[in-house]
Every structure is written in C-alpha cells, then in structure tokens.
C-alpha cells in the first residue's frame, strides 16, 4: 500500500535508497546533494540497511569505489552534484564502458565558475556523452520513482549500463512536498533482493575487467556499448509499464502535457516543467492552444518519438538550463532540432537559455516564451537563440 508522505527531494531519494538496500554506497558530500549520503549513512549506522558505506576522500574516489564494487557484482548507488560530478568525469566513462549498472542520484547544480551552489543543468548536460543513461524528474515524487526504476533499467541483461537520476538542486532537493512512497516490501519485490551480474570479478566464473583494449577490439566494444543504449529505450518503457501497474503513475520517455491540439509548445526538463504547466493551464483557460513536453529520458535520446509528438505544432521553444557555449544553442535544443529534421520539418524552432546558476524561473518568463511563439507564428519573425530572464 502506498503511503502519503511529505518529504524533500533528498529525503525521498535517501528513503528510496533505504528501500532498495544496495550492497555498497560510496559517496563524498557536496551541496545540495550532501543530505542524501548523510541520511543514508544514518540508516547504515542504525542497522536499517545491509549496505557497506564507504566514506571516501573525493568524488573521483567515490565513483572508483562504486566501479570496483559493481565490478565485483554488487548493487551500487551514490549521489553527487556539480563539481562533484565533474571530478567523477574520468570514472563515469570507465563505469559505462565496463558496462556496470550503478545508480547515481544527481541534484543538478551549476558548474563553476563563477562558483555557485544553485540549480542549473550544466553538470549532467556536460556528462551527457559519458555513456550513462540519464533520467530527469520534475518533483520529489519523480526523483523517487525514477530512482527505483533506474535499478531495474541499468541491471537489465540487454542494457548493463549505469544510470543517473537527476533532479533540481534546492528547488526539488530541499523543498518539502507531497508524494506517495511504496511499501518497503513492494520496492524489494520490484527491484529484487540481489543484482544478477552476468559477469563479475568474483564468483563462480570470475572475469578480468577493464584491461587495455587496443585497436583490434576497442571499436567493437564501443559499438556494443552503443547498442546497449539503444536497447535501453525498449527496457525503459517495459520497466515503466510494470511500475505503472504497481503505482498507477505513468512514465515514458517524456510527458506530453495538453499537446493534443497545441500550436505552440515548450520542451523543457525538470522542475521548470511544473511552473510551465501552471502557465499552460492559465493560457488554455484563455483559449490559447499551448502545450508542453517534459523530457524524462535524455540518454538514450527519444528522437523519433519526440519528432512524432511535435509533428502538429506550429512553433516550439526548447528551453535549456545549461549553455554549451557552442554559439549555436543549448544541448537540449541541438538534440530536439536534430530529431525534428526530416521528421517534423517546417516548424519554427527556437531556443531559450534560462535559469542559469539558480536564477528563479517565474511564470512571467514562461508566459513571455509562449507570447514569443505566437508572435513568431503570426509574423514569421523571430530570434532562434534567446536568453530568458537575464539582464543585458
């Protein structure tokens, strides 16, 4: 039976980890993610989980210890943010290429510099090509739900990849809100008590892992890694369907909000989607045909499905809470426009970089984006690259 609770995002994630009861958690604290290992270490100290908690001296070591434990066949989880994720960088690629399912909760925070503790998506967007599956969540509920599903997705025999579960620092990590938690037994049943590792450093048939891989095999291994990411698409939907049966909460690659007859749409990630839904409701009440797509799965990127969802709009604004300094738009924009090319042509597609370093994202800002889109539809005149809520 689901339990109605009020928790912060970090509390929800820490309690989710407790219910999952992983073999190993190796973590190093960093704002705004610190509470996750802090709460979890209390569960370890109280004997409420069977987990080996490894307190390490840096995030590079945290990810290295996670890789070691996962290579040994364990179920492994950790948490970080921002510079902590950046310090894991080398090992992120190692973990993904060794095909080790691990779950990393990331409370999205701006990367330095200038140093800033607040939310944007520059940390995980930077890690988008590391080979990790990336799930994003709007609320504490979605962070919790994604965390539980992530275990099953990563460990699936056709996937065997690590998964990042991303949610907005402070906005989601530190705000208390309503959510529904599963019973401990339901989670245990859903994720299984143990990870079934098809290959491991220890056990009946131990294998060597992570050796030098020269030109005669490296490419084949990367090709297999790419195939695993493709396989993840099918698995993500299968696990979501199973989770929906358990909870009634529906998950896919993305959420479509009032998109049926939408002429102007926003594509956005994480908590801002909630603020934008409020605006969509208000504009709909005024008879404006607006909709919203909230990306849940960024890696693998659901290109065909997204193009299909956008095929009937006239104009779409893609909102990036990270700048890639490409001088050609943010990372989500590049993916969405590329996905639409050849599949949903002839649309107005614009980009808004917004909310960097925790700049508050208001309903007024979102209203402006929709107004810009309608203006573009009416006049045919618009800027492709825009910055929202910045002083210029």
């Amino acid at each position: 039976m689901a339990k109605r609770v009020s928790l912060s995002g970090n509390e929800a994630v820490a309690f989710g980890m407790k219910q999952i009861n992983p073999d190993v958690v190796a973590a190093f604290p960093i704002t705004p993610s610190t509470e996750v290992p802090q709460y979890f270490s209390q569960f370890v100290a109280n004997g409420e989980v069977d987990t080996e908690f490894v307190a390490v001296e840096s995030e590079h070591s945290a990810m290295s210890a996670c890789i070691g434990a996962a290579a040994a066949g364990g179920r492994v989880m950790t948490a970080t943010a921002s510079a902590g994720l950046a310090l894991m960088w080398e090992m992120l690629y190692v973990g993904a290429s060794m095909r080790l399912p691990m779950v990393l909760a990331v409370t999205n925070r701006a990367l330095s510099g200038p140093i800033n503790i607040h939310n944007d998506h520059s940390d995980t967007m930077g890690a988008r090509d590391s080979g990790w599956i990336q799930l994003y969540g709007e609320s504490a509920q979605e962070a919790y739900d994604n965390l539980i599903q992530a275990i099953r997705i990563g460990e699936h025999k056709d996937v065997q990849l690590p998964v990042m579960v991303c949610y907005d620092g402070f906005i989601t990590s530190h705000a208390v809100e309503n959510l529904e938690m599963l019973d401990d037994e339901e989670v245990k049943k859903f994720v299984g008590v143990k990870r079934e590792a098809p290959f491991a450093l220890i056990g009946q048939d131990p294998v060597s892992m992570g050796p030098l891989d020269l030109p005669n095999h490296y490419f084949e291994h990367k090709r297999l890694q790419a195939e695993a990411m493709k396989n993840a698409k099918k698995v993500i939907l299968e696990i979501a369907a199973e989770y929906e049966k358990l909870t009634g909460r529906k998950y896919g690659f993305f959420e479509e909000y009032k998109m049926e007859d939408a002429e102007a749409a926003i594509v956005v990630i994480n908590s801002t989607a909630g603020t934008a839904k409020f605006v969509v409701d208000n504009l709909r009440a005024q008879g404006k045909k607006v909709g919203l797509i909230k990306i849940r799965v960024f890696r693998p990127f659901p290109a065909e499905e997204l193009a299909e969802a956008l095929k009937n709009v006239k104009a779409v604004a893609v909102m990036d809470k990270a700048d890639s300094f490409s001088a050609a738009g943010g990372p989500l924009f590049a993916e969405v426009r590329s996905a639409m090319y050849g599949r949903a042509d002839g649309k107005i597609v614009t980009n808004y970089i917004y909310g960097l370093g925790g700049r508050d994202v208001t309903t007024t800002q979102i209203e402006k984006v929709y107004a810009d889109l309608f203006n573009a539809i009416e006049t045919g005149k618009y800027e492709v690259y825009n910055y929202l809520g910045v002083r210029e």
Partner: protein, 192 residues
Amino acid sequence: MGKLVEIRWHGRGGQGAKTASLLLAEVAFNTGKYIQGFPEYGPERMGAPITAYNRISDEPITIHSNIYEPDYVVVVDETLIKSVPVTAGLKEGGAVIVNTAKSPEEIKKELNFNGKVYTIDARKISEETLGAYFPNTPMLAAVVKITGVIPVDVFLNDIEASFKHKFANKPHVVPKNMEAVKRALEEVKGNE
C-alpha cells in the same frame, strides 16, 4: 479553502523561519492538503536576512518558482522591516503578521502599508511559557489562525500529537508548548 494560499516568511538566519515554514507545511499536510515548504538559500550566515515560502492547496501544486505575490507575509524579526521590503507584492486583501511587542497601528505606520496588519509578541509568550526565546511555536499558531489554512481545532489536536512525539523524552514540556500555542491564538492582534 479551495484555492492556492501563498505565504512568504522573512526572518534571520538561525531564528527558525525556515523551520517554521516547514512546520506549517507539516500541519497542513496532516489535514490532507497539498503543500510546499522551501527556503530561499543564500550565503547561510547567522543573522543574515532569509526568506522561506509555503504554498498550501487542496489541489496538487506544480509551480516551482519563488513567491512574488503572496497572500500572507510573516515577519519573524521586526528589525527586518527597516531593511527588507517585506510587503512587496503582497496581494490586495492579504495580510502581514509581525512578531513584535508593538501594536498593529504602530507597525502599520512603520511599514507604510495600507492592508491588514497583525502583531504577535512571540518573544513574550515564548519566554513566559517556555522560559527561553523560541518564537516558532507562537508564530506558527498565529499564522494558522490568521491564514485559516487549517481549522484551529484540527491544528490544536495535531500540534499536541506532534509535540508528544517530538518531546517523547521530556513530556513535561508538552503542556508548556501547548500553552504557548493557545496564548498565541488568543493574543494575536489585528488592525484591518
């Protein structure tokens, strides 16, 4: 109360405005409401002005921005009135609740504000009932009464249960805290 109620708290780091906002979220949650409670994090220094927020509704809440046009403003430290525009954006028909020994009329003048002003001497109540300055409990009671986000009788039952839980190791402080709550409910004064 069908609609969304938005509350903004002004306090100083270390005074418990954040905790008070989380307590309010908790008591509203316990009556079946949808809630949000969140602080605006800045450089976390003792004594620095801080802001915290509550949204309370019968419907799920999706909006995740700060609150710019609150229905109610709560000022935990009256010295902030001089340095922070506490009534900024306050909705017409909204109210400000200030922790002060002064009268609502005096505060109204200081705020240069035409709307409703309520005052509560949380220091006096706290010191007389709890023996030290813990403004949270009386402030919370005053906010519940003025905002009406939950019925006062429901609040009284709920808060007593949560004090019994919180102070399981020192049950003798429960009646003192309840006295602080009841006095705050009686002593909050308004000027409309």
